[in-house]
Amino acid sequence: MSSRAYFGRRYMLSASHRLHADSLTDEQNRESYGKCNNPHGHGHNYVVEVLIGGPVAAETGMVIDLVDLDSTVRQKVLERFDHRNLNLDSLFQSTVPTTENFSRAVFGLLQDALPAGELKYVRVEETENNFFQYYGAD
């Protein structure tokens, strides 16, 4: 049996950011981003959810080994962003670290690093009430 299924896993990381576009004036930034433009930044407990698709291996019953997935996400994403300021990361030097862009950044970091399967989406929950999902380039 090699049915295709999806395996999902949720991770938490805490990070700070400030939404500010250099191409906009200070006034335009305040208008666009409101309190998220606070020059001192602010933080969130982010939930990063990943969904991996692939055939269910007959001998293990798994799409991907949880331990291998955890290790990849820890190395590529959690160690890089947890308890950090997102604005200082090299990926956000010319891109505003909105959660939309953060989802895309995480997708890019994981896409080619997975030990098995294909990355279907990355979902980032910024708070309990807003979240963003990226499925890769169309």
Binding site: A5, L51, G61, V67
Partner: protein, 139 residues
């Protein structure tokens, strides 16, 4: 097209073991999950049905009926059971979250055939709040 999802919970025990492998290999691949005494989870199962709302009732499918089908086909077989020892499909298949999603799909698909205009779209099974698997049928 509307998707409608019903959520239910069940509690069950299981362990991961491949009879074709040595004990050492099972323990290396499956870690703590290979403990033959088993361990348990509170599972959450989401069944998603897709279809057009009926022009008279406004329902894609009657939720009470869906609840009854889920209870009869899946929950009554899985809830408070040892999946490896008491559920036939896991006598020869390891009850990973992936395989539970596939097995629940197979149990629901035939029964849902009785609902005109609705079809099974997705089964998602949470083993813990942080771990889940989903199955969309043969693709």
């Amino acid at each position: 097209m509307i998707e409608l999802t019903r959520r239910a919970t069940f509690s069950a025990s299981h362990y991961y073991w491949n009879d074709a492998w040595s004990a050492e290999q099972n323990e290396r691949v499956f870690g703590r999950c290979a403990n033959r005494n088993g361990h348990g989870h509170n599972y959450t199962l989401e069944v998603t049905v897709a279809g057009e709302p009926d022009p008279v009732t406004g329902f894609v499918v009657d939720l009470k009926w869906l609840k009854d089908v889920l209870e009869r086909e899946v929950l009554s077989a899985y809830d408070h059971r040892h999946l490896n020892l008491e559920v036939p499909e896991f006598a020869s298949t390891i009850p990973t979250t992936e395989n539970i999603a596939i097995a629940a799909w197979n149990r629901m698909e035939t029964a849902l055939g009785a609902a005109p205009g609705a079809r099974l779209k997705r089964i998602r099974v949470y083993e813990t709040p942080e771990i889940f698997a989903e199955y969309l049928g043969e693709q």
